[in-house]
């Protein structure tokens, strides 16, 4: 997966058009993009969309709310019948990955889905996550890739977001661990000026990342080109 485009799962028009941007994967976000009062509406909309629309051209990835919140389990149980390819595990640590896998065991059994078919993509959002990335990957055979969120990682460190040099250690650690474990590594979304995207994606690729999150549809073309 070269590009993973993030979209708001509570917007019907975006759900309809998500396959048209040329992204390899679409990350349907139930967490940061959706207001607290609309979490129920978003997961219902997403599962109906997954049933109704043809997403066979892309990898369908769903980002639920943090496992530390009650919405996490509801997100997984509600959306799993729509047969997404993967769920993100936010604020990833080994326990959260195990819990996510257990919820999916239950959801797959209840919905007559093949066991273990829905995969997990832990999101490394903290310093502890970076340090334990190998253990996170090893926590479940469902893990198929790891995603990196630089903004949350730097916030956890208490460092002000600046340039790519701040991320060298974390990126290297994640990319190397993923390579060793044989799973894909998906770099953080880029939020700076448009003309800096190619350089940022190139920096991640140089450290071994296999793909990158696209913050919007306009970034997809550049990311696909860098990771081609």
């Amino acid at each position: 997966m070269k590009s993973l485009m993030i979209v708001n799962a509570n917007n019907p028009k975006i759900l309809l058009d998500a396959v048209l941007y040329g992204a390899d994967g679409v990350l349907f976000d139930l967490a940061d993009s959706v207001a607290d009062t609309e979490k129920d509406a978003a997961r219902l909309l997403l599962v109906e969309a997954l049933r109704f629309l043809d997403y066979s051209a892309v990898e369908v990835v769903v980002r639920p709310n943090c496992p530390c919140q009650k919405d996490f389990e509801l997100d997984l149980l509600t959306v799993a019948p729509g047969k997404p390819c993967d769920f993100i595990v936010p604020m990833a640590k080994p326990e959260y990955v195990v819990r996510a896998a257990e919820i999916l065991d239950k959801a797959e059994a209840e919905n007559n889905l093949p066991a273990g078919e829905i995969r997990l993509i832990p999101s490394i959002d903290s310093a502890a996550g970076v340090e334990s990335v190998a253990a996170v990957i090893a926590a479940s055979p469902r893990v198929r890739a790891v995603m990196f969120d630089a903004k949350k990682f730097l916030a956890d460190l208490g460092a002000e977001a600046g340039g790519a040099e701040q991320l060298v250690y974390a990126r290297s650690k994640i990319a190397v661990a993923c390579h060793v474990a044989g799973v894909e590594s998906i770099d953080t979304p880029y939020v700076g000026k448009a003309d800096g995207l190619a350089a940022d994606a190139g920096a991640a690729k140089a450290l071994g990342f296999t793909g990158k999150v696209a913050a919007d549809g306009k970034q997809v073309k550049t990311i696909n080109a860098v990771f081609a």
Partner: protein, 520 residues
């Protein structure tokens, strides 16, 4: 009767007349006569008493000197677009005089012309003919059958043809004139209401019984170049406070869409043109000014630069994009019927290679050869398209008038390849239908449909299908696009219409291609 596209209407339509049915896009050519004109000669200045000078200070003076009466046809151009004051000013004065049964033959009607609705209701206006109409109050009045006679929609080439042949006689032409001298020399690119070329009014200035230049910028004789309407065509010069609102006339700069899906549609269209061999030295190009159509020009430009191609000309409504391509030497000339932004107004006034063309030169099929005949590539929009590639730009799928032919059927007929670009779904509506609500351009003149969900090529274009074999472009067929769309939207319920014909859609040659009936 039924025309060749299976569209049904009476042989004789009350308020329109005897119908000549559409028989095919390329069947109606040959020798054609033009109608005679009347004009009143003017003595030399030293022989002309002040009361007979061309310059008039009030619209009533103009009306008195012409002797306007009930039932007349007034011609107007729409180069002031949604900032036009002239149509309203003239029709208000006509209403105040108690005139009735007037025919407004404006080349375009916009939202700013809302006051006409009152005059339609009161019978001051009983007929409208136009080449363009924007969705709005007048379009609604037409749809709901308020006009006593059906509106007539003619293309930009069809209107001059109708005037030259005598099908439509203009009694008085009121030409909004951004700069004018007291003897009637008109310049369109200067003055507070500068709008660029005045192309659409030329048949009126040639064939109307009376021509009135209406200006808010009277200058000393002679008006500065380029003079577009010369004094020998103009009977009267009327000075008013303002002919238009600059904010509504031309947008600052026309911009290409930034919507990634619109850009992908445009990129596909440009790639298709390249693969099919249309991007080459001497090529010519026209696009609509809509965001997605215009984006095709931007991608074609990139491919021209990459290949080192120099094109012959760009045509039609001109935007800053075409002006840039002219300046860069990517195009040798522009043929302009309408300036869409300030850059094109400026260029039309300065650059001799940025040439004005009249509506007749642009698209009249019964001239000695219109510019559309020399056009390679045409990029178009569409409200609906059907399985036979017939296009509708006149009504929504509920039968409500929301546009008129513009240059659509002139350019699709003239160009070597006519490509419609559009999103497949517009809200809950799929633009590919079993049968379009109203035919504007016949399918035999439309070659390709490029959508966000795939590209369909008209099966009549076997040559294109062969050239594109093995292409990586998302080629499909139009039926599959319709089925894809209907799987999402559901099959639309049929709209019910009354028998009342509210508008007649003429093809560019004057035959009737379709009619618009009043929806129930």
């Amino acid at each position: 009767m039924k025309n060749v596209l299976g569209r049904e209407f009476p042989d004789y339509i009350e308020g329109y007349g005897q119908v000549r049915p559409f028989t095919g896009a390329f069947n109606n050519y040959g020798e054609r006569a033009t109608v005679g004109t009347k004009r009143r000669s003017v003595k030399p200045a030293h022989q002309t008493p002040p009361a007979e000078e061309k310059l008039c200070r009030s619209i009533d003076e103009v009306f008195d000197r012409i002797g306007v009466r009930d039932g007349m046809t007034f011609g107007f151009h729409h180069h002031l677009r949604n900032g036009d004051y002239v149509v309203n000013l003239v029709m208000k004065a006509a209403a105040e005089r108690g005139l009735k049964d007037l025919h407004v033959a404006a080349t375009g009607i916009f939202g700013c012309h809302e006051p006409l609705v009152e005059y339609i209701k009161s019978g001051v206006i009983t007929q409208i003919s136009c080449s363009y109409i924007s969705p709005g109050p007048v379009a609604k009045a037409i749809t709901t059958g308020l006009l006593r006679k059906p509106a007539i929609f003619r293309s930009h080439g069809g209107r001059p043809r109708a005037i030259e042949s005598g099908d439509m006689h203009i009694d008085v032409a009121f030409a909004a004139s951004p700069t004018c001298d007291p003897y009637g020399n008109v310049n369109g690119t200067h003055g507070p209401s500068a709008c660029g070329v005045l192309s659409y009014i030329f048949p009126d200035t040639e064939y109307a019984d009376y021509v009135v230049a209406v200006t808010d910028n009277l200058v000393d004789y002679p008006a500065p170049p380029p003079i577009q309407i010369t004094q020998d065509k103009v009977d009267f010069v009327l000075v008013v406070d303002k002919i238009g609102d600059p904010a509504g006339i031309a947008s600052g700069t026309t911009r290409v869409t930034t919507d990634p899906i619109g850009l992908r549609i445009a990129e596909s269209a440009a790639a298709l043109l390249d693969e099919a061999g249309y991007i080459k030295d001497g090529m010519s190009l026209q696009t609509g000014a809509g965001g997605a159509s215009l984006a095709v020009a931007a991608f074609v430009r990139e491919r021209m630069l990459a290949k080192g191609v120099v094109g012959a000309f760009g045509a039609g409504g001109i935007t800053s994009y075409f002006v840039q391509m002219l300046k860069e030497g990517l195009l040798r000339a522009l043929f302009d019927v309408q300036c869409f932004d300030l850059d094109s107004v400026k260029s039309a006034g300065e650059n001799p290679a940025h040439m004005l063309m009249s509506g007749s030169l642009y698209g009249n099929p019964h001239s000695r050869g219109a510019v559309v005949n020399n056009l390679d590539i045409m990029i178009l929009g569409a409200t609906e398209i059907d399985l036979d590639f017939n296009v509708n730009v006149v009504t929504g799928s509920d039968g409500v008038v929301m546009g008129a032919s513009g240059g659509h059927n002139d350019c699709s007929a003239g160009s070597k390849i006519a490509i419609v670009v559009s999103n497949l779904l517009k809200g809950r509506l799929c633009m590919v239908r079993d049968r379009v609500t109203t035919v504007t351009s016949p399918g035999e003149t439309i070659d390709v449909l490029v959508t966000d969900r795939g590209i369909a090529i008209n099966p009549q274009r076997q040559d294109l299908l062969e050239k594109l074999q093995g292409s990586a472009l998302p080629l499909t067929d139009i039926k599959s696009l319709k089925e894809f769309g209907e799987n999402l939207t559901g099959k639309p319920d049929a709209i019910e219409f009354t028998d009342k014909i509210v508008a007649v859609v003429e093809y560019r040659d004057g035959t009737v291609i379709d009619v618009v009936r009043q929806p129930k």
